[in-house]
């Protein structure tokens, strides 16, 4: 581990990333609160899509359970937000997410293909129904109020930190034994088994890791809405959005999802702002165009046009991206 960290091909991208994130932290002093809300949207989806890809990229499981963890995080804040200090609440959220992910991971990862997709979707509905039922019959209060003194900028900084931690985790993971094991599993599970890799344990570990980041995103975002009920917290649309963004960007590389998140969030925004009555149609058409014209996602396009030697150093992202790949 130590000698791996000291290598220049480790230090350079990490240093570059640190500079970029430090610069991004000053965004609030430069733009008004509308752009901040847009930035929050981008960073939150960036965390979700990257965390999603961390598990789904190598294993090729398409999970629609993103919002389960996101919602659990949001609910933890709603329940504990006024009782405990916020950092402790975040820890509790992470624990709740871990527990659920362990449970789900061990029981479901033997499902394959579309069965896993639909299972995770069913899980979303089940969790939503169970939370509703619990609130109705036990607490007798549906819909919770979150009155916390957390500003939009605080949320932005928290998300940015979370994203930095996530990228660093992913980066280290990519160079660790676990990451190596994952790549083998991604190529061929049978081979991996023969190499003596405990496939299930690796998958579950990754599922939990990805779930913790999703849970934390939900917990950080919750104070923004003042009011949480199961419909708001467990909106299945979120899971779909994350999948689409990650698939568009390219889930098999660390920075791939980001390349889907940024254009799509901006696109959604432009469409929402300009076509309030025809948003659905415009969105649908754009989607179709993407599917037909960009079959391999943005990263596929990148790989297709990349010069054989080295990408131009003009863009920090694509450079780090190439390094980590």
């Amino acid at each position: 581990m130590i000698n791996c960290i000291l290598k220049p091909d480790f230090i350079k991208p990490v240093f570059l990333g640190a500079v970029i994130f430090a610069a991004l932290a000053f965004l609030p002093s430069l733009v008004d609160s509308y752009y901040m809300s847009l930035a929050i949207s981008i960073v939150s989806f960036a965390v979700l899509a990257t965390a999603w890809s961390m598990f789904s990229g190598p294993t090729r499981y398409i999970s629609l359970a993103t919002v389960v963890f996101f919602g659990i995080g949001a609910y933890t804040v709603a329940v504990l937000g006024e009782v405990l200090p916020f950092p402790v609440v975040l820890v509790c959220a992470a624990l709740a997410g871990t527990m659920l992910a362990l449970l789900v991971g061990f029981s479901t990862l033997r499902l394959a293909g579309v069965y896993f997709v639909i299972f995770t979707f069913g899980l979303t509905e089940l969790v939503r129904q169970v939370v509703s039922w619990y609130e109705v019959n036990v607490t007798r209060e549906m819909g919770r109020y979150i009155f916390l003194d957390i500003t939009q900028n605080d949320i932005y900084w928290q998300l940015l930190t979370l994203f930095a931690v996530l990228l660093l985790t992913g980066f280290i993971l990519g160079r660790s034994r676990l990451g190596f094991a994952l790549r083998i599993i991604g190529e061929d599970e049978t081979v991996a088994r023969h190499c003596g890799i405990n496939v299930t344990r690796v998958k579950v570990a990754l599922f939990v890791l990805s779930a913790v980041f999703m849970t934390l995103t939900g917990a950080i975002m919750a104070p923004r809405w003042t009011y949480i009920d199961p419909v708001i917290a467990f909106n299945p649309m979120l899971s779909f959005q994350v999948v689409i963004m990650a698939l568009l960007g390219g889930p098999r590389r660390l920075l791939g999802p980001l390349l889907g998140v940024i254009p799509l969030t901006l696109l959604f925004e432009v469409l929402t702002a300009n076509f309030p009555n025809h948003f659905s149609i415009m969105l649908g058409v754009t989607f179709m165009v993407i599917v037909y014209l960009l079959p391999g996602g943005v990263i596929g396009l990148y790989e297709k046009y990349r010069t054989p030697q080295k990408a131009s150093p003009s863009n920090g992202h694509s450079k780090t991206e190439e390094k980590t790949a």
């Binding site: 090729r60 398409i62 029981s107 479901t108 033997r110 499902l111 394959a112 293909g113 579309v114 069965y115 639909i118 299972f119 979707f121 069913g122 899980l123 509905e125 089940l126 129904q129 169970v130 509703s132 039922w133 109705v136 019959n137 299945p236 779909f240 689409i244 698939l247 009555n277 025809h278 948003f279 659905s280 149609i281 415009m282 969105l283 649908g284 058409v285 754009t286 989607f287 179709m288 993407i290 599917v291 037909y292 079959p295």
Partner: protein, 290 residues
Amino acid sequence: MLSYAVFSGITLGGMYALVAMGLTLQYGVSRIMNLAYGELVIVASFAAFVLMTSAGINPVIGLLIFIPASFALNWAIYRILLSPLVARAKNRGMLEVDSILATFGLLFIVQGILLVWFGGNYYSYDFMNGAVDVFGAAIAANRLVALGFALVFGLGFYLVLTRTRMGTALRAVAVDPQSARLVAIDVNFAACFAFALGGAMAAVGGVLVSMFLTFSTSMGVAFTMKALIVVIMGGVGNMLGALVAGLILGIAEALVATYIDPGLTIAVTYVIFLLVLLIKPSGLFGRTVS
């Protein structure tokens, strides 16, 4: 009480099965994971509504128009939008991802068009709501009609698929399109035909469901999801499986509502679904996939 719960559960389950059967064809045979399926169900509901309220035409009679129209529409969707994806897909996984993305786009387009025409309001009309006495349980006539259609389709298609040449061809395509080609089956035609047939069945479901449910332009996704649950639980591509899965879910809902707590009806459908998947990962009637 028990008999009423069982009967209303059967009608409910019949509705689930009816809505799911088209999807099981589209996904099982044509291999298109059609996320816009529910939107096509809703389109038929709106069509029935318009026909009923503006022209006074009985929706069941209207099926004579809706079935061919929807068949043609879905044929066109497959030919224009989906066959390029099928052609370029190297394996089943790629087609799955591509069809999810493409039909997700289609979902928004159809919903957007409905929204422009009908707005976001709730819609509902009164048709065949008279009570029919079934062994002492009063059940609305329109629900019985829907159940009847589900049974006829479920059993009918099961027989067609297992007993006819055409059915055997479709099943062959479902199992292995590559090998099917070797025995002179026109795979493209079969897939397109199955997709269009599935679409026509979605229309039947939409029309019948509109007689007793309040619907709106944003409800399509709910139908897609319910249908997916039934399809997966019954085993992909298996009509009889969809029928049985639908009935199980319907009866379970009614029993839970009667004897435990109506607040848990939706939860119980998902519990059953998840349990079935965990015990038998390829669904009740599904073949085990390698």
